[in-house]
């Protein structure tokens, strides 16, 4: 798993916590033995492993009715569809994942963003209660497909709880949950109760839709983070809260910091990131990750309605059929 520090200057150690708390390298976990893989995700070594992906086709209603934080040009549906097909094609064809594609539902204009409907970690899936009331029904289809995978299912039934999967960052060692307009404390609590093995820390998110609007995991121990003040502040919070010390990959554009890391047995580190045409400066940063197989993916249309790369899939690692 030698990710190496090939990223050069862009890849700097993310000091744990500002000010005083340096010198806190997290526990150096010895490589998990095969036997322990079944539990706790097999440790960090298994981070990014993935066998299945759930995606959903986009409805035409998305163009006009999808929620969006800022008004702007209308979504070009045809182009959006092409981009999405490319995205799915990479997952299925290039990476060999079993892709479960749900049909679009015109009554759910945001249904393409499946990430928000479920959080899956190891063998457990938490069906969320999305913060936007108009999206609550998206969960139903998600529930059906996840049940077919025989995952341990937990449903968020508390009517006071809201949680969007986009606010959940799983690092392989712990969860960070953004407290945003879409996700509240109660939702985070239920997530913590669902994934008891892991620490769940909350991170205030103010200026963005979701926590992962400006960050994501770009490697087993590597957090990609945007350069905005809000992003940096959130990173600080995360560092402060964590017993572990993460490396960080800072990219100029917040939106580009949302990427998808996968650990594919035959391909090693794989990173899906925003295309150079969209974010050239950020793409240059990603290109310094020499150990990663880099796959640029354009996401210009869905971005108009706050969609990011991670939003469009739920990644699942099925290790057994138990």
């Amino acid at each position: 798993m030698g990710r190496g520090r090939a990223a050069g200057g862009a890849l700097s150690a993310a000091g744990a916590g500002g000010g005083g708390s340096r010198a806190e390298p997290g526990r150096s976990d010895p490589p998990a033995s095969p036997r322990s893989m079944a539990g706790l995700g097999g440790g960090p070594a298994a981070f990014g492993r993935c066998t299945h992906a759930v995606v959903r086709a986009l409805p035409e209603s998305l163009c006009r009715q999808a929620l969006r934080s800022t008004a702007g040009p209308e979504v070009d549906f045809a182009r959006a569809e092409r981009e999405h097909q490319l995205y799915v094609g990479v997952l299925r064809g290039k990476l060999g994942l079993q892709v479960l594609e749900l049909p679009a539902d015109e009554s759910l204009p945001d249904c393409v963003f499946v990430e928000d409907a479920a959080v899956v970690c190891e063998e457990t899936a938490l069906l969320t209660r999305p913060g936007a009331p108009s999206r609550r029904k998206e969960v139903e289809a998600m529930k059906r497909v996840l049940e077919s995978l025989n995952l341990n299912m937990v449903e968020m039934v508390d009517e006071n709880a809201t949680l969007d999967g986009g606010d959940v960052l799983f690092t392989g060692r712990e969860f960070f949950v953004g407290l945003s307009k879409r996700t509240n404390q109660r939702g985070a609590e239920i997530l913590a109760d669902t994934f008891k093995d892991y620490a769940v820390s909350t991170v205030p998110v103010h200026d963005s839709l979701h926590l992962k609007s400006f960050c994501s995991m770009a490697g087993p121990n590597l957090i990609a983070i945007g350069s905005s003040e809000a992003a940096q502040k959130a990173l600080k919070t995360m560092q402060q809260m964590s017993d572990h010390r993460y490396d960080k990959l800072t990219v100029p554009d917040d939106a580009a910091a949302n990427c998808i890391y996968l650990n594919i047995p035959s391909k090693g580190h794989v990173l899906l990131h925003r295309a150079p045409e969209e974010y050239p400066e950020s793409a240059k940063v990603f290109e310094k990750l020499k150990d990663h197989m880099l796959i640029p993916i354009a996401n210009t249309e869905l971005e108009k309605v706050d969609g990011a790369l991670t939003c469009c899939s739920v990644l699942i690692n099925k290790t057994s059929e138990l």
Binding site: E24, S33, E123, D193, M241, S242, L322
Partner: protein, 1004 residues
């Protein structure tokens, strides 16, 4: 006897005048064998009369003891443990002489120190003494509260005879035992059967079995713990401990360095053997048997729900448990229900059992030890592994949980982590009453340290949490435990320190384990699971957990157990009486006054000497402000009990004419660097306060609270700090320490102390340097202060080895304005001499300690103590969080030798004022300002003395920097500025204390 005692006292007085050195000598003399009372008396009297200490013939063991005691009194308490008893008895006896004492005032102090020798005489005959002895035996000798002020003693004596012994320093246990025996022998006539009393002790082991043994009633925790470990065949025992429960949900760790009886009080002698420090990496444990016990603990933790796991993890861990305890899955032998006997989870389902069985099959071939290792490898990654949870409320009254773990302190709200403070980020941990505080480093771009307060259900809970933090910090981050505060200086609050081995030490030690792997049975899970229901621990755990999960409200028990507290205080008082006798009493006095009396008063004296103090003061203010702020804001959070300031009380106290008590001030004056009138006066007031407070303390905590309030009010008056701070994140620079005012008696280790502080000091580990420097500065300042004290008494240049990297020059300007004539008294020469001697003794002590790295540890606490309760400066090598790092840092002990010089320039007039007549303090104010390289502390005191008002401004400037700074120039500049700022005042004294780095040593 009484009369005789009186005469003795007088004699002592005489002797005292001669000087403290005599006092020192006397104890030694006194150490002569106690033949009969008469002979003893004679000897003691001789001692007193003859200023020259006669060499004692170490013929009998008792004499040896006495010698030790004497030395102890000198402050070298570590080496000698003996007298405790005698001191005690002496104390008891004293009440009779009280009137005299009070009259004598200052002499009291001397007396006490001297009187130890004579104690022996008095003891046998007095019934009180007997009682005392009994108590003493029962008491924790280890809890040495050394120095209680002499002044306090009388008060306590008045109060009650139930005294707790305080041992000055830890002597070796052997010595102690000897002492005890001897003493017992002496007292035999009066107390017949107590000697060999044994008690039956029961210990619930991790496998659910019970171990019982007979223990001597006075046995220390260590003895029991060792017995248990021996029974278990456990060598790596430092990770473990014994628990006892008061109520069903309050678990306490048995302190191995203290007597069991004193800790459990009236509770049954029932303990639980548990893991105390969860090793972050169990694979580094040396022996399988140790891992096995850790597994047992974790299985308990998991089954009880204390360690939450997901379904999958429950199943996985359960399967390893099966593999370890039953071996390979055997389809014939192991039917579907074989698992039901085990408890893997709080809510075990059929589904889970099936999964466990399935996974069990996959472990074929794993040996029990391997299965345990796998179990641990998975368990250690659980987020709540090794986290000790405590209920608390934040400043807004919201229920939270505080989790103490190897890496620091975690804050949870419900199941969510809402904050985290790694040990390196924490500068100080303290508690006061039911509040628990941490002072944290400024964040990256912030300028100020902040102090964060939490409200615990009661003060015992606060103390428990504090102790756990101290222990965890020490165990996981230090190379070796720090020494507890020296007994010689009175400290308020807990002196508790972790006394066991640190993780680093235990690893080192376990590397030396050379024995064949011991055989042991593994088959306990069933028993564990069954016993869980009834076991007290499970109850507590689950209740805790429940709350944790369900946001249940921790019982907001804010009512302090008055009775218990009162008792504790009494005991403490007793200990204080036993305070190290010969140790510069003056210092003790002052400090006592400091701590006990209103903060404001104390501040007057100490501000100058201790920046830390200043910090404390500020803190206090903040605290107050917080209070008020919070009150006014209707946040019922903090210290609800605190009423509004009552200046009147303060006034009253101040005016109260206890002429006798004024004596105290002399002593304090002596100690104090202060030859200043005002100081003396103040100290006298302090003395008053002390006495009163002590009395009140006996009555109960409520009184204390009142005092507290008073203090606060006073403080506010004195300082015009207008800021309103919330409890959280006080933007105050020195907001760290909490006002220690309240509990005057809290100096003792007793469970009821109200306050405790602990400063985790982190030695620079590589990158840290910048932040570290701050700390170092603190250390330096403290040392520095210490130094200054010496200087003020005498002129001396001393060398001190300081583990610090920065160089510092400090200048202290004393600007005194004589608005009118200042009545000056002549100094009491003998007092001065005493001072000097006392100081020298201190110095000696420091040097005696020998261990360089400890020097500043020794020093700092004292100074801190002046200002606050129990502060521990843990300058130590930091073991960083990472295991790999640990090894590295272990070897890097950054010790830097420094040269320390102190020079005092004093104008003649100044001397005169040292005598210090009584005056009335009008106001006291302290201002601190800081620039990059300098810290300036200005302390302004206004006094009215005999119709003459006097304003005294003391400036303390600490210049820190490396060679790039011209310290001399900076100093000159500082003096110049001082003059310019106060053109109408005259500079009466300049003390320069300079520490220069000499060379680096001990660097590997």
């Amino acid at each position: 006897m009484t009369t005789e005692v009186g005469s003795e006292t007088e004699v002592k007085k005489d002797a005292e005048q001669v000087g403290p050195d005599k006092a020192k000598g006397k104890p030694e003399e006194a150490s002569e064998t106690p033949g009969n009372d008469k002979s003893r008396k004679a000897s003691s009297e001789e001692t007193q009369d003859s200023p020259v200490p006669a060499p004692t013939s170490p013929s009998s063991p008792s004499s040896q003891k006495k010698e030790k005691d004497s030395s102890e009194s000198k402050g070298i308490s570590r080496f000698l443990p003996p007298w405790l008893k005698k001191q005690k008895s002496y104390t008891l006896a004293e009440p009779k002489d009280e009137s005299k004492k009070r009259a004598t005032g200052e002499e009291q102090v001397a007396e006490e120190s001297e009187s130890h020798p004579s104690e022996g005489m008095a003891q046998p005959k007095r019934s009180l003494e007997t009682v005392a002895e009994n108590n003493a035996k029962a008491d924790d000798k280890e809890e040495k509260h050394s120095v209680s002020s002499a002044e306090t003693q009388p008060a306590k004596e008045d109060g009650k005879e139930m005294e707790v012994e305080k041992v000055t320093e830890e002597k070796e246990e052997k010595e102690k035992r000897e002492t005890k025996e001897v003493q017992t022998a002496e007292s035999i006539p009066q107390k017949p059967p107590k000697k060999i009393k044994t008690v039956q002790c029961k210990v619930v082991l991790l496998d659910g079995t019970e171990y019982s043994c007979d223990l001597e009633k006075k046995a220390k925790g260590q003895i029991l713990f060792d017995k248990v470990c021996e029974h278990l065949n456990l060598l790596e025992k430092d990770y473990f401990g014994l628990l006892f429960y008061e109520n069903s949900d309050q678990k306490n760790w048995l302190d191995s360095s203290k007597e069991i009886k004193r800790q459990i009080r009236s509770l049954p002698w029932l303990f639980t053997f548990n893991v105390k420090f969860y090793p972050p990496d169990p694979s580094q444990l040396t022996e399988d048997i140790t891992r096995y016990f850790l597994c047992l603990q974790l299985r308990q933790d998991i089954a009880s729900g204390r360690l939450p796991c997901s379904f999958v993890t429950h199943a996985l861990l359960g399967s390893y448990t099966l593999q370890a305890e039953m071996g390979d899955h055997d389809p014939d032998e192991h039917r579907s229900d074989y698992i039901s006997d085990f408890q893997f989870a709080p809510n075990q389902t059929q589904e889970m059992e099936e999964k466990v069985a399935e996974l069990h099959k996959t472990h074929r071939g794993l040996t029990p030890a391997q299965a345990d290792s796998q179990f641990l490898e998975n368990a250690k990654r659980l987020s709540m592994y090794g986290v000790d949870l405590h209920h608390a409320k934040d400043s807004e009254g919201v229920d939270i949980m505080l989790g103490v773990c190897a890496n620091g302190l975690l804050i949870y709200k419900d199941r969510l982590r809402i904050n985290r403070f790694a040990w390196p980020k924490i500068l100080k941990i303290s508690y006061k009453r039911s509040n628990f505080y941490i002072k944290v480093r400024p964040a990256e771009l912030e300028q100020f340290e902040s102090t964060i307060g939490f409200k615990l259900p009661n003060h015992r809970a606060a103390k428990r949490l504090w102790k756990v933090c101290v222990e965890h910090h020490t165990f996981f981050r230090l190379l070796s435990p720090e020494q507890p505060p020296k007994s010689k200086f009175l400290t308020l609050g807990s002196k508790f320190r972790y006394s066991g081995r640190t993780q680093a030490q235990t690893r080192q030690a376990s590397n030396l384990i050379d024995r064949p792997a011991p055989y042991f049975e593994r088959s306990s899970s069933k028993r564990v699971s069954r016993s869980l229901d009834g076991a007290p621990m499970s109850i507590s755990d689950q209740s805790l957990l429940r709350d944790f999960r369900t946001r249940g409200q921790p019982g907001g028990d804010k009512i302090i157990d008055l009775a218990a507290a009162g008792e504790a205080k009494l005991k403490e008082g007793g200990r204080e009486d036993d305070g190290s006798p010969l140790k510069t009493p003056q210092l003790e006095l002052i400090q006592d006054g400091k701590s006990n009396s209103l903060r404001v008063d104390g501040e007057n004296i100490y501000v100058r000497h201790s920046n830390l103090m200043l910090e404390d003061l500020d803190k206090t203010q903040d605290d107050l402000l917080k209070h008020q702020a919070s009150i006014s804001e209707l946040k019922r959070n903090f210290m609800e009990s605190t009423p509004e300031p009552r200046p009147n009380e303060w006034e009253k106290r101040r005016i109260t004419p206890l002429s006798l008590q004024t004596q105290g001030k002399h002593a304090s004056r002596a100690e104090g660097p202060c030859t200043e009138v005002s100081n003396a006066d103040k100290s006298s007031h302090e003395t008053l306060d002390i006495v009163e407070e002590k009395k009140q303390a006996e009555v109960g905590i409520e009184e204390t609270l009142v005092i507290d309030e008073t203090n606060k009010g006073k403080i506010q008056v004195a300082t015009d700090a207008g800021e309103t701070c919330k409890v959280e994140h006080l933007p105050k620079k020195d907001s760290s320490s909490l006002p220690s005012d309240s509990s005057s008696s809290s100096s003792s280790e007793s469970e009821d102390e109200e306050v405790g502080e602990y400063q985790p000091h982190h030695r620079a580990v590589e990158e840290v340097i910048r932040e570290e420097q701050e700390e170092e500065e603190d250390v330096k300042r403290k040392e520095h202060e210490e130094k200054i004290q010496h200087v003020e008494a005498t002129l001396e240049v001393s060398q001190l080895t300081v583990p610090a990297e920065c160089t510092q020059v400090a200048a202290e300007d004393l600007v005194q304005e004589n608005a009118t004539a200042i009545p000056t008294e002549e100094k009491n020469l003998s007092e001065e001499i005493k001072q000097d001697l006392g100081e020298e003794k201190e110095e000696e002590q420091l040097k005696l300690n020998g261990d360089v790295s400890h020097v500043d540890t020794d020093v700092s606490p004292q100074i801190i103590c002046c200002s606050e309760p129990p502060v521990v400066k843990t300058e130590m090598v930091t073991i960083s969080d990472a295991t790999q790092r640990t090894e590295i840092s272990t070897k890097e002990v950054p010790i830097v030798q420094t040269e320390t010089k102190t020079i005092t320039y004093e104008s003649p007039q100044f001397d005169g004022s040292a005598g210090g007549g009584a005056g009335v303090l009008l106001s006291a104010q302290t201002i601190t300002s800081e620039s990059i390289s300098t810290t300036t502390t200005t302390h302004i005191t206004k006094m009215v003395k005999g119709g003459v008002s006097e304003t005294r401004i003391e400036k303390r400037i600490v210049i820190t920097g490396d060679a790039d700074i011209d310290h001399d120039e900076a100093l000159a500049q500082a003096i110049k500025e001082a003059k310019e700022q106060h053109p109408d005042m005259s500079v009466t004294r300049v003390v320069v204390h300079k520490e220069t780095e000499l060379a680096e040593e001990d660097e590997d």
